[in-house]
């Protein structure tokens, strides 16, 4: 039975590794300017974690195989070096890994979160509410009009609570249910939560950020490839959480201008 267990452990370990090695289920292609650092971090971690995983399972299996069901006269032995050797090995190996990943990971993180958006980044506001995303573009005046939460009315499609009658800056704001951005242009995404917690996740863009009710947070990123991608909510927000999504279209500058004009006409 022990030998069977040893074999099973090895089989399971190898079987678990196969889909990783064959890239059966992987993240989609990266279309962002910062994502390569994240992907590199992921590959490095996978290599190190994978080796550690396989080695640990293999050694466990080996020792189970070797030392179970011993002969009655077998002598007890101690692994040479004892605990001291293992502690030193763990401190050195794991410590080095930890340091390396930690230090190199800082850059990947800082790129996304600790840098300011450039001055000519295009601002877009996204509002998350049960259970949809809505987007607002500032229009030709480049300014967002103020929000009046008490004016929010889904029925009349005033999703943001804009007072276009009295606020000059709101008059040219463009509100859409889909997000479109020009390719290769930095976007400054202003995130506003209408009710409870939500989150903004686009896998291809390598961005994920929670909306914080009561606090306006922001993200900045640049998309490098045109296409149609899904924005999904990843913070449990109620019964419609599973269905809360929007489409992100990355368009050429000309296509984007056309799109924006069409959207403006629909306001």
């Amino acid at each position: 039975m022990a030998k069977f267990l040893a074999v099973t452990i090895i089989v399971i370990a190898i079987a678990s590794a196969i889909p990783i090695l064959r890239h059966t289920w992987v993240a989609p292609e990266d279309i962002s300017t910062h994502g390569y650092l994240i992907d590199e971090q992921m590959s490095e971690t996978m290599a190190e974690a994978g080796i550690a995983f396989l080695a640990a399972q293999f050694i466990l299996a080996l020792f189970i195989w070797q030392f179970s069901n011993p002969r009655p006269d077998a002598k007890i032995k101690s692994f040479p070096g004892g605990a001291k050797a293992l502690v030193i090995a763990a401190l050195l190996l794991v410590g080095a890994e930890v340091l390396a990943l930690g230090v190199f990971g800082v850059k990947a993180w800082a790129n996304v979160y600790l840098t300011a958006p450039s001055a000519d980044a295009m601002p877009i506001q996204v509002q998350a509410g049960q259970f949809a995303f809505y987007f607002r573009y500032p229009g030709p005046d480049g300014k967002f009009g103020p929000l009046h939460p008490e004016l929010i009315n889904e029925g009349s499609q005033n999703f943001f609570g804009l007072d276009t009658a009295n606020d000059a800056d709101s008059k040219d704001d463009i509100v859409t249910a889909e997000m479109a951005i020009p390719v290769n242009k930095e976007i400054h995404l202003l995130m506003h939560a209408k009710d409870v917690g939500h989150s903004f996740f686009v896998r291809e863009l390598r961005v994920q950020q929670d909306f914080v009710p009561g606090l306006d947070v922001s993200l900045h990123f640049t998309a490098t490839k045109a296409g149609r991608y899904e924005i999904v909510c990843t913070q449990l927000c109620g019964l419609g959480h599973y269905n809360m999504k929007a489409y992100l279209s990355v368009l050429s500058q000309d296509d984007f201008n056309d799109w924006l004009k069409k959207q403006a006409a629909l306001q």
């Binding site: 971690t45 990971g105 993180w109 909306f211 109620g238």
Partner: protein, 594 residues
């Protein structure tokens, strides 16, 4: 005159009535068994809920006959609605984390065995101990009552994030009364566990018998002691947080709900609250909580393996220091649940480093276990199989933690099935294996009968292979971007993943059914198992030196004296290849703690 027995347990006479013996008992052994029974009921309930969840995730429109009985509106025709899915999920997580993983390895086995392992007659405060169980039981009842009261249980997940947890029923079914009941239940649970921790700590520090120095305590005793210290800090923080949420619901305060919240076109009457505050308070509790769930298992696996390897671990002390290190570090890492929460991104880096560092003591523990197997005389039985399985599972679960510890990688893995796979591996499987191992190991001592060994092995094989079949694919789903807490998967990119979900569902149902073998074994052996000798495993610690099952005062009026540490295996003594802690026999040995 001064009472000479000022620092011994207040002797209480053995109870005679049924109520005093089996219901409102002051005896730590009975309390331990009561906790175990509670954990068993909770585990089966939680497992049933997971079956409903998995069936729905595999086949969204599947009708489960009879499910309408569990909810007035949640399962019309037995088909689970999105809100009911979330309610099931919330209850599954809450029941499992609190009423199984904190209760069984810590409260159940700890209550039964800690006093015996230190040589005491009982815990120093038996009435608080009894209260601790009944308060926990009441907490369970309050939690389960949310199924039948109001519009059902809360749907906000076991993490109950604000402001969803505080705005009330306008945010969804179960978010009014359901949340309040959840908060009351958990606050009660915290009180119960604090009372338990009080007893565990004082037992370990003050009731050790002559010769039982701290370093001579078995690793299970250390694990329970360290876990109690963690519980003391963690539960004392969660309770006030729950109270503040209750106030937001019933008293109109705004601790967690910010201004300008608009739900269903209505401006909510709260203002100024901090949503992140809840996350900080919750995770300050929540991260130590998961170590509370695993550290007793680490103690149990060590204890079971030492006995079954017939040799001590390479270093008992290093294992103790590692458990302590895990406990201390567990308070510094909680922000890794909040990397993308909107908290200061610099804090993310500050939390990431200790999270990576905590890998080190965990690795040392695994290395010591594994390399202690070298040169051992490993005995294979149900208890040792689950202990070995624990090592494998702990490695698998721990390795995925390595990814999540890095904020940049967490951008892609946060809130995906990768996280769900990680914590199910370490908590849902490894910690459960610890409970199983402890059960097979200690059942003879607790009941006087042996469990059926063949059924135990079948249980192991189905659980071991089954658990990998269920939870390994979670990691792949997560890497492909499968979001968690979705009741179904309408997104385009999730369609290719649906077959994986079907596979997981089948594996879950089969593995779950295998657990019924364990339940059958428990019940059958309790009444008809082979009578057990006092020391069936030829083990050294104090619980094996007393009768099976132990008498009312644990040692039959005698007070044991301890001469050795619990690791005297692989020696030559008059009884075999081991020396019991209570045996005055001196033998040639490599190391014996003083």
């Amino acid at each position: 005159m001064h009472d000479m027995s000022a620092h011994s347990v207040q002797h209480h006479a053995p109870p005679t009535s049924f109520i005093r013996k089996h219901v409102f008992s002051l005896d730590h052994k009975v309390i331990g068994k009561q906790y175990y029974a509670l954990a068993l009921v909770a585990a089966l309930s939680g497992m049933l809920l997971s079956w409903f969840m998995r069936i729905h995730l595999g086949w969204t429109n599947a009708a489960i006959p009879g499910l309408q009985l569990l909810s007035k509106t949640g399962a019309p025709g037995g088909v689970i609605t999105p809100e009911f899915y979330l309610q099931l999920m919330t209850m599954h997580g809450t029941i499992m984390v609190f009423f199984v993983l904190t209760t069984a390895p810590f409260a159940a086995f700890g209550n039964f065995f800690l006093p015996i392992q230190v040589g005491a007659e009982d815990m120093p405060f038996p009435r608080f101990n009894m209260m601790s169980f009944w308060v926990t039981f009441a907490a369970f009842l309050v939690l389960m009552s949310s199924f039948i009261l109001g519009d059902g249980p809360t749907l906000g997940g076991w993490t109950q994030y604000a402001p969803l947890n505080s705005v009330g029923s306008v945010a969804g079914p179960g978010q009014g009364l359901g949340v309040v009941l959840w908060m009351i239940s958990i606050a009660l649970f915290c009180v119960g566990q604090l009372l338990g921790a009080l007893n565990f700590i004082t037992t370990t520090l003050d009731l050790r018998v002559k010769g039982m120095s701290m370093m001579r305590l078995p690793l299970t005793a250390w694990a329970w002691f360290i876990t109690s210290c963690m519980g003391l800090t963690a539960f004392a923080v969660l309770m006030p947080a729950c109270i503040l949420v209750i106030l937001d619901h019933v008293a109109g305060t705004s601790f967690f709900v910010p201004s300008y919240s608009v739900i269903n076109d209505q401006l909510q009457p709260h203002s100024g609250g901090s949503t992140l505050l809840w996350q900080h308070l919750f995770w300050f509790f929540g991260h130590p909580e998961v170590y509370i769930a695993i550290v007793p298992g680490i103690g149990i696996v060590s204890h079971v393996l030492i006995t079954n390897m017939r040799k001590p671990m390479l270093s008992q002390r290093v294992l103790i220091y590692c458990m302590g290190a895990l406990a201390v570090l567990s308070y510094m890492v909680y922000g890794h649940h909040m990397f993308v929460s909107g908290m200061n991104p610099v804090s993310a880096l500050a939390f990431s480093f200790p999270t990576l560092v905590i890998t080190i003591p965990a690795t040392i523990v695994v290395l010591i276990w594994t390399f202690s197997l070298y040169g051992s005389k490993l005995r294979i039985n149900s208890a040792s199989l689950f202990a070995l399985g624990f090592i494998s599972m702990f490695v698998s679960g721990g390795v995925s933690g390595f990814f999540l510890a890095q904020p940049s990688i967490d951008i892609m893995l946060h809130a995906t099935y990768f996280v769900v796979g990680h914590f199910h591996m370490v908590m849902g499987v490894a910690a459960m294996f610890g409970i199983f191992s402890a059960t097979y190991f200690w059942f003879p001592k607790m009941t006087g009968r042996m469990m059926n060994e063949s059924l135990g092995r079948v249980h192991f094989w189905l659980s071991f292979v089954g658990a990998y079949c269920i939870f390994m694919p979670f990691h792949y789903l997560g890497m492909a971007g499968n979001i968690r807490r979705y009741s179904s998967f309408p997104d385009d990119f999730l369609q290719p993943l649906l077959p994986v979900h079907k596979w997981i569902t089948v594996a879950a149902l089969v593995t779950g059914a295998a657990q019924l073998i364990f339940v059958y074994n428990l019940i059958h052996s309790r009444f008809w198992g082979k009578p057990a000798p006092d020391n069936p495993w030829e083990a050294t610690s104090l619980e094996w030196s007393t009768a099976t099952p132990p008498p009312f005062d644990n040692f039959g009026g005698k007070h044991p004296v301890v001469y050795h540490d619990p690791c005297q295996y692989g020696v030559q003594s008059s009884v075999g290849d081991y020396v019991m802690q209570t045996s005055p026999e001196q033998v040639k040995t490599e190391h014996d703690e003083k």
